[in-house]
Every structure is written in structure tokens, then in C-alpha cells.
Amino acid sequence: MHISDGVLSSQILIAGNVIGVGVLLYSFKALQQEKVLLCAVMSALFFMASFIHIPIGPTSTHLLMSGIVGVFLGGGAFLAIFVGLFLQALLFGYGGLSVLGINLLIIATPSLLAYFLFQFKCKSPFKQAIISFLMGALPVLFSALLLSFTLAINSEEFLSVAYLSFFSNIPVMLIEGVFMVFIMNYITKVSPKLLERR
């Protein structure tokens, strides 16, 4: 899901970084003191998720967990994901430093979907499970779409890579959806206070 350095044109990089800085500042300003610890935990979770690789044919992809970050943090997801992305680029070469802004927008923006879906409460366990699945799957789907779109507008020659990037993230989408169902079910039983709607 990460775009590497040297792939995108400078126009896209500059636009992405400028917008990224803006949303980051807003995210930091809006972060409440009592949410800072949760933000740190979510950042660590996001960082670790990239190490869980899923082999898909000749290539491989990795988990994102942007859905769960979005559920708990809302707009604060941008800050948590940014710290994770920065450390991944610096220490392990995942993505890159010049494309931090773009990667942040690709991964963090769809996590807001999970936050909005979380506001819907259903009494039916089956419907709640469906919503939980969508909370995990849709952020990955839209991140894959954004990634493919970014590659496609970068250059026509990237179109085939854009298709490959999109389809290789479908298994991740399904896995994260299932994970989210189990996670939400577990938290509802163990610590329902964490899931208070806001």
C-alpha cells in the first residue's frame, strides 16, 4: 500500500505533502489530552501491522489496520498513522520520506469511513457484524482505490501497476473485515466503555 520514493512526479508529491501537513496540524490541534495514550497505542498497532505480510502469488502485501485506528481516533488517525509511516520509512524502507504526505492521505483518509460507520449502532448482532466487517474492509478498499488512482494519474505507464495494486489488496480487505468483526465483538464483551459513541 506504500508508494516508494522516486515513483511519483514532483507536482503530486508537493500537493500531497502540503495537504498532508495541513491535515496533520489539524489532527494534532483537535487531539484531546485523554486521547493521546490511545493515539500512541493505535500508532504502534499500525506500525506493527505492516510486518504481517500476506503472500499473494509472486508478490506480497501487508495488513493496514487503518479501520480500527479510524474507529477509535476519528480525525486523530492522521497523527497516529503519520508517526507509523515515518518510522516505517526511516527504519525499514517501507514507502519513503518524500511521499509521506501522499501515503498518509491514501491510508488515513479512508479510515474516517470506519469512524462514521462506527456511529451506527444496531441491536441485531448479525447487522452489527456486517457493519464491523465494513469498518475493517472499506478503508482498505478505498485506500487501494486511492493508491491506484494516484499511480494512474502519475503516468499512463503506471496503469497496469495500478490494477495490480488494487487487486492484490482485495485479500487484505477481506482479512481486515473479518479481524474487525472479532475485535469489535471482543471489545464489546471485555471493555464496552471503549466503544462509547462520540
Binding site: 522516486g6 515513483v7 489530552q33 506480497s60 501487508h62 507509523g84
Partner: protein, 135 residues
């Protein structure tokens, strides 16, 4: 004269249509080599060879039906040559912007992970105190 020039230009254009284009991208720790004659004509079953900066062969493969072949990232900078049938050949140079580690030990990854958690802790502790001060 004009007819000759026109025919010459036409020949050059059609030659260009048969040139093999080679394209390399990187996705995480995988290099993707994509080669085609034209968008609708990928280079299927073509031999792909990777050479390091010293000219030594370090990896090779065959393109699939969509003209792509995948390699584990082993070198930072390399040259790729794709050979198709009937003497067609294309090459490209690629330089990875990301550090390519040969084989990273488990201890090294563990230490980097610990360092990352340390940075996350320090950063959010700083954020906590900044927020507390404002409140």
C-alpha cells in the same frame, strides 16, 4: 524525394512500434519488471536478467502472460535486460530510493522495532505534556 523521406519516417515509426519497452517499479521488497512492445502486446515468456553495478548477473526470470516478472529486492541499483524472440531486446536501469538490505537479522529487526516503539512513546509523551499545558 518527399516520397522517400515520408517512407523513411514511416519505417522509423513502425520500428519504434516494435521496440521493447522495459519498465521497473518497486513495491515494498519486490521489484516488478514490466515489458511490452505496445500496450496491447506484452512481452510474454521473455527472458529477464538483472545485473549489479559491477555487471555481475544476480537474478533472472521469465515474464508471465502479462509481461511482468517479479524479483525479491537484493540490490540497490541494477540494470535489467529483457530479451524477446527475434532479437528484440530492451534494457533499463533502476535505482531504489529505499535501502535494500541483503538479509536483515532477526535481532536487527527486533532492535529497530524497539527503537520505533521508543520513538512513539517519546513523541506522544511530548504531545501529552503539550496538551496538558494548554489545558
Amino acid at each position: 524525394m518527399k516520397k522517400t523521406l515520408f517512407l523513411l519516417l514511416l519505417c522509423c515509426y513502425s520500428l519504434q512500434a516494435h521496440s521493447l519497452k522495459v519498465f521497473v517499479t518497486q513495491e515494498s521488497d519486490t521489484f516488478i519488471v514490466y515489458s511490452y512492445f505496445s500496450k496491447s502486446s506484452p512481452c510474454k515468456g521473455c527472458q529477464v536478467t538483472l545485473f549489479d553495478e559491477q555487471g555481475n548477473l544476480f537474478d533472472e526470470g521469465i515474464t508471465d502472460a502479462s509481461g511482468k516478472s517479479y524479483f525479491k529486492a537484493k540490490k540497490q541499483k541494477f540494470r535489467v535486460i529483457v530479451k524477446a524472440s527475434m532479437g528484440h531486446q530492451g534494457e533499463s536501469e533502476f535505482s531504489s530510493q529505499n535501502p535494500v538490505s541483503q538479509e536483515e537479522g532477526t535481532l536487527n529487526i527486533f532492535l529497530k522495532g524497539l527503537f520505533a516503539f521508543g520513538v512513539i512513546t517519546i513523541f506522544f509523551l511530548f504531545a501529552y505534556f503539550v496538551k496538558r499545558k494548554r489545558d
